[in-house]
Amino acid sequence: MHKKKQMAVKVCLIVVLTLMMAIPAMTADNVLMMATTTSTDNTGLLDDLAPHFTQATGVELKWTSVGTGKALKMGENCDVDVLLVHAPSAEKTYVEKGFGVNRREIMYNDFVIIGPESDPAGIKGKKVVDALDAVRAKGAVFVSRGDNSGTHKKELSLWKATGAAVPEKETWYVQTGQGMLASINIAAERNGYSMTDRGTYIKYADTMSGNPPLKVLVEQDNILLNQYSVLSINPERCTKAKFDLATTFSDWLAGTEAQGLIRDFKLLGKPLFVPNAIK
């Protein structure tokens, strides 16, 4: 009876220890720490690029994917070495304030406006500005992320482009404060419109077995382009930031190999990013 008990305790201990050993060993030197937005991580692009980068340069890339606002804040706090984000105007201010340096455009993807197939506001095929005016005029449900993310900022800029105020307090304007996918799902439940990056929409459509209740209604407008840039953290402010590794990463991303990888990257069989780095 006692022996059996002791055996059981031993077995449990061994299992726990084995599991703890199963973690891959950490390599501390030559590590580049990056903060990026959820969209790049969620599409799997970084998982695709990181091994190639390590192979080419011998530098390990670690990244944390957070909202754009938080990513910028982490850079400001010297917690990361490099940023890969998509909020051009915020980035420019960031560089002006001296937090980031060497902003370099790498690639873009695009946003789309989605809505129910019935399209109650009749926006299908319109230009963005006309489409949003129609939504506003109709008072149709429009779901916004409302989380100060890059995507949210983009959406706000579209509303501003209509020349009228953002419908912040309208009852038909639903701010979720959640991620893109959660917001799309809410839009579907409410039979409303939303603006999303194409990558998330492709994923969403895939989970709906190819027949999603929400369809792409507005696309291919220049205003919907979503520019991704890489920024190094200012080494004069953050002395511990690995500026040289950040530069290596930036150069590599703009190089032929990485630009080719970005072009060839497919999400569920569909291309997503267009490389546009200037060498």
Binding site: K5, C12, V16, L19, M20, I23, N42, S65, D79, M180
Partner: protein
């Protein structure tokens, strides 16, 4: 909702096919939670015992403070710990951000009030006859203390298990302090958050089941410490 069934199948596949990413997350979860549990039990049990056992001024106020701390939201703890260990923070020099140690520190703060409050409650609910019994059988002051602690061992075990449950399942601290870095600080819960964000609902459910499986394993192990 066929992704729930898909999640079940996926969970079995992840666990038995030796999926590297899953086992890395399992390892990170176990490492961080073991560290935080070791720390919170070492600090919390003596404090909880003292809080429940001794009479001293401001005891009630202290108790109130601990009970209130039970309601600390994990994202808030994550934010505060981040503020301290960020490179710009007072402890930035220690390089704890984006490490499992950092997560363990946050989780210790999360678990401590649970351990303290529940072991204090266990001690308070100790039978009032116990003291008389032990003294009457000839226990010295020291023996009285240790025998009393031994008598409440099941209560302390329950406190530990409750705290372990909170620590294993929290996502705010791991996300904020650990950064959900693949192969390093990606725990099961942050992986679930990520997979959900990616729309991979069935993988998210699978990981959730993996977490439950681990919790079950831990409880099975600890059930041997209980009577019978």
């Amino acid at each position: 909702m066929d992704f729930i069934l898909a999640g079940f199948i996926e969970a079995i596949r992840l666990l038995f096919s030796g999926d590297d990413q899953t086992w890395s997350a399992v390892g990170a979860t176990l490492k961080a939670s073991s560290g935080s549990m070791a720390a919170s039990l070492t600090i919390g049990v003596p404090l909880g015992f003292a809080l429940g056992y001794f009479q001293f001024p401001a005891k009630r106020q202290l108790r109130l403070l601990v009970d209130t701390a039970l309601a600390l939201p994990t994202v808030f703890i994550g934010l505060v710990v981040y503020a301290f260990i960020s490179n710009r923070g007072p402890l930035g020099e220690m390089g704890l951000l984006f490490t499992l140690t950092g997560i363990a520190i946050g989780q210790t703060i999360l678990a401590l009030p649970v351990v303290i409050a529940l072991s204090a409650t266990a001690v308070e609910s100790m039978d009032r006859h116990l003291r008389a019994l032990l003294i009457s059988l000839g226990a010295s002051r020291r023996q009285l203390l240790f025998s009393s602690l031994w008598e409440v061992r099941y209560g302390v075990l329950a406190a530990g298990l409750t705290a372990y449950g909170r620590v294993m399942t929290e996502v705010g601290i791991s996300m904020m302090v650990g950064g959900n870095i693949k192969w390093h600080t990606r725990t099961i819960t942050t992986a679930i958050a990520l997979e959900t964000g990616k729309g991979m609902f069935s993988t998210g459910i699978a990981l959730g089941l993996v977490l439950i499986a681990i919790a079950f394993g831990v409880n099975v192990c600890l059930s041997f410490l209980r009577k019978k």
